[in-house]
């Protein structure tokens, strides 16, 4: 089962990289870009036929390793 995990800094945490990217885009003339948040993307393959099982397992590893709950939140997608 193929899953994807998107990890990003919580809204309350300043993201200096995202800020720098916004400023670069605005200086390139993309004035309508008002914010960018940079994050991490993981493709996690799980040996199971059950989407629920895959989601539960990947959420667990995201909690334990892929994301730091102090500063980051995450979202899991599973191929149905």
């Amino acid at each position: 089962m193929k899953t994807r995990v998107f990890v990003s800094l919580k809204a309350s945490v300043f993201d200096p990289q995202g800020r720098t990217i916004v400023e670069a885009l605005q200086s390139m003339g993309y004035g309508s870009v008002s914010d960018v948040r940079q994050g991490k993307y993981f493709e996690v393959d799980v040996d199971t036929g059950s989407a629920d099982e895959a989601r539960a397992l990947v959420s667990e590893v995201a909690d334990k390793l892929l994301a730091n709950p102090v500063i980051e939140s995450y979202r899991v997608e599973v191929d149905e």
């Binding site: 800094l9 945490v13 200096p16 892929l66 730091n68 102090v70 500063i71």
Partner: protein, 230 residues
């Protein structure tokens, strides 16, 4: 006394800590490989600076799963003094032995310079020989040293006097310009509620000899020698 200096793949301040402990302070020191599960009979543990596991995923995120960390956790739970310096601080935070997290420096630059830090609390094994308000000149060398935590956790750290070091000006004043990385509340180092585990971003072990530009870091290591002897 004997220091155990933990070596992870990618540690690069392990020899600085060894040199300071053994050759400057004249104490015993032993390297402990991260796959070991003993601490060589040490009285204090140093998690040194560096780039454990190449800083993959997040700084300190992989090192916390090294076998030796369970032993360090147990040593800390029994009250043993543990200090994490720079990457060692990052490992202690990821391991949950200290609270909070370290973010990229606010201006995204890797900072390699001397800074001033103020000793805020002296009732830890690593600051017992210092004075409250004493200003130390210590080097920093990090890209991810901006301390962050929730408002609730910061309030509890402050209420329990767990902020041990803060960035300050040369005369000890708190000002934004003296905060090199944008740390919340200018936090440079904290301790756990039991006060025996301390983590900080600056490098006291690299500031133990005048030839290196500062001897101000000696008080940190000398404090733990005195604490162990007491």
């Amino acid at each position: 006394m004997k220091f155990a200096i933990i070596e992870f793949p990618g540690s690069n301040c392990d020899h600085d800590a060894y040199h300071a402990a053994k050759h400057v302070l004249g104490q015993q020191a032993a390297f402990v490989w991260h796959k070991d599960t003993g601490l060589a009979g040490a009285d204090a543990v140093v998690l040194p600076g560096g780039f454990s596991y190449g800083d993959y995923l997040r700084t300190g995120a992989i090192a916390r799963f090294s076998p030796v960390m369970e032993t360090v956790r147990q040593f800390a739970a029994e009250g043993g003094p543990v200090i994490g310096i720079c990457n060692g601080f990052q490992v202690l935070l990821e391991a949950g032995l200290l609270e909070g997290a370290l973010l990229r420096n606010r201006r995204l630059k890797f900072l390699c310079q001397h800074v001033h830090v103020r000793v805020e609390q002296t009732d830890t094994p690593f600051t017992g020989g210092a004075q409250v308000g004493q200003v130390l000149s210590l080097p920093i060398a990090h890209g991810e040293g901006s301390y962050h935590t929730t408002a609730e956790t910061l309030a509890s750290l402050e209420a329990n006097r767990q902020v041990i070091f803060r960035y300050c000006s040369q005369d000890g004043a708190m000002q934004d310009a003296a905060n090199p990385n944008g740390s919340l509340a200018a936090v440079a180092g904290i301790c756990n509620p039991e006060r025996n585990v301390v983590g900080l971003m600056p490098h006291p072990e690299r500031a133990c000899e005048s030839a290196l530009g500062s001897e101000d870091g000696r008080v940190v290591l000398e404090s733990v020698v005195a604490a162990v002897a007491a």
